[in-house]
Amino acid sequence: MSRATGEGPAATAAALTVLEPGPLATIQDRGRAGQAALGVPRSGACDRRSYELANRLVGNAPGAAAIEVTFGGLALRAEAEVVVAVTGAPCPDAPLNAPSTLRAGDVLRLGAPRSGLRTYVAVRGGIGVEPVLGSRATDLLSGLGPAPLTAGDVLPVGCEHGPMPGVDLAAVADPVAGDLVVRVIPGPRQDWFAPGALLGRRYAVSSNSNRIGVRLEGTPLERIREGELPSEGMTLGALQMPPSGLPVLFLADHPVTGGYPVIAYVARADLDACAQLRPGQSLRFTS
C-alpha cells in the first residue's frame, strides 16, 4: 500500500519502505493544538524533546513529521539516498543522536531499546504524508491522521528543509531506566484528596499504558469527598484519578475532556521523561 497522495512519488523520489513496524510505529509531529474546543485532541509526539532533536539533527523545520517507534523493532528501507537521525530510547545498531546517511537500498533496523520506550526517526525533508486538520500525527484515540505503520507501507519523503545543523552528535542522556521521580503541580481537584497524598508514593507503570496515558499501579488513593464531577477540560500531564484510586497520567492522545478529578499535573519539563516509561518501571511524584 502506498501512502503517497496526489500525483504519487516519481521513480527517483525519496521514500522509505516499512519492512517491519515493530510493536507500534506511528507518524508524529507537533499535533493539532488549538482545536480542543472542537473535541479534537492535540496528539503529536509523546517525547517532544527527542522528536524536536531528531528534526534539528537533519535540518528540518520544527514540526516536520517523523516516526515514533514504540519499543524498537522498526525496519525501514531507503528507496533513494536520505539523511536520517534517530533519537529517544537508544536502540542497538542504530546511530543515535547523530545524522546519518542511508543510500538507496540501505536498511535501518532498530533493535529493542536498552532503556526508555519511544525512539524517533526523522528524515531530512520530513515524512510527506497528507496532513489531516493541519497535522500528520496519528491520533490513536480519535482515529485522526495516518494509520499505524504496517509492513509494505511506502512513506514519501518531503523536500522542504533548512541547512544541516553542523552537529555531528548531540550530547543527550539516555532515558532513566530505574526509578523515575517527577515534579507535580496542584491540579484543580486536589482538594478531593488528603493534602500531599500523592507525594512520595511508589507507583509501577502498568502494561495497559499507551499514547493516551500512563496507567499506574500501586496502593489506591482514597477520596476525602463524595460526589460526581461534570466533565471538564484537561491538558497534557493531567493526573486523573478514576474510582479505582490509581492515577492515569495523560500523554499526547489524551481526550480533551474527562469526568474524573485531576489531583495534579506533572510539570511540563518532566513530561518527556514520563513518555519514556516502560511497563513495570517505578515512578514517584515530588512537589
Binding site: 493544538a33 488549538g34 482545536q35 480542543a36 474546543a37 472542537l38 473535541g39 479534537v40 485532541p41 492535540r42 489531516v132 486538520l133 480519535s142 482515529g143 485522526l144 503541580i185 496542584p186 491540579g187 484543580p188 481537584r189 486536589q190 461534570p230 466533565s231 471538564e232 477540560g233 484537561m234 491538558t235 497534557l236 500531564g237 493531567a238 481526550p255 480533551v256 475532556t257 485531576v262 495534579a264 499535573y265 506533572v266 510539570a267 511540563r268
Partner: protein, 201 residues
Amino acid sequence: MRILPAGDHALLVELENLDEVLGYYAALAGSPPAGVVDIVPAARTVLVSTDGTDLTALTRALRAVRPIGGGSFGGEPLEIPVVYDGEDLDDLAGYLGCSAEDVVKRHTAEDWTVAFCGFSPGFGYLTGTGSWDVPRRESPRTKVPTGAVALAGEFSGVYPRESPGGWQLIGHTTLRIFDQGREPAALFQPGRRVRFVQADD
C-alpha cells in the same frame, strides 16, 4: 467564579452553570489573551491552556473577562435535516408522557446552541431553550451509526461517526457533522446556533 490550578501551562475557570460557561467562553474566545493555545468549555468550567508559563498574567486576564449575555455567537442557525426514525423515540416519548410526534415538535421548535464539544472530534453538546431531562440508556450501545441524532440529560447531539454511545436515539441526519477533509471539518463549534428541521427520508 473560581480560578483553579491546572499545572504549569493552564488554568481552569469554574463557573456556576452552563449559561455562565457559554457567556464566559464567548467573551474569551472572541479576544483570547496572548499566548493562549486552547480554550475548552465544558459543563461548568472553561480550561485555558497557554504556550508559556506566566500564569499570573493569565489569571489577571481571566478575571477581567466580561461574559457576553446569551453566549451564542449569533449569526444564522445551522439547519440540520433530521429523519425522526430513532430506535428510542417511542420509548422516550413514553418516558416523557407524550407522543413521538410531540417529542419531534419540541425538538424542532427549539433554538439550540452548541455549549461545548468533546467525546469525539466534532461531537457537540447542544442545549435548548426548553428544559430537557432525558435519562441515558441503561446499557450503552456498542455501535451508534454516523449521523444519529440523540438526547441525554439536558443535551441533544449528533454522532459525528460510528462509535459506542449511551444517548437515546431519536433520528438521523445525512449532514456530515464532522468531515476531516472539509474546511471547516467540524460544523459544531461552541456558541454555534442550531435548528433541527424534520426531513422526509
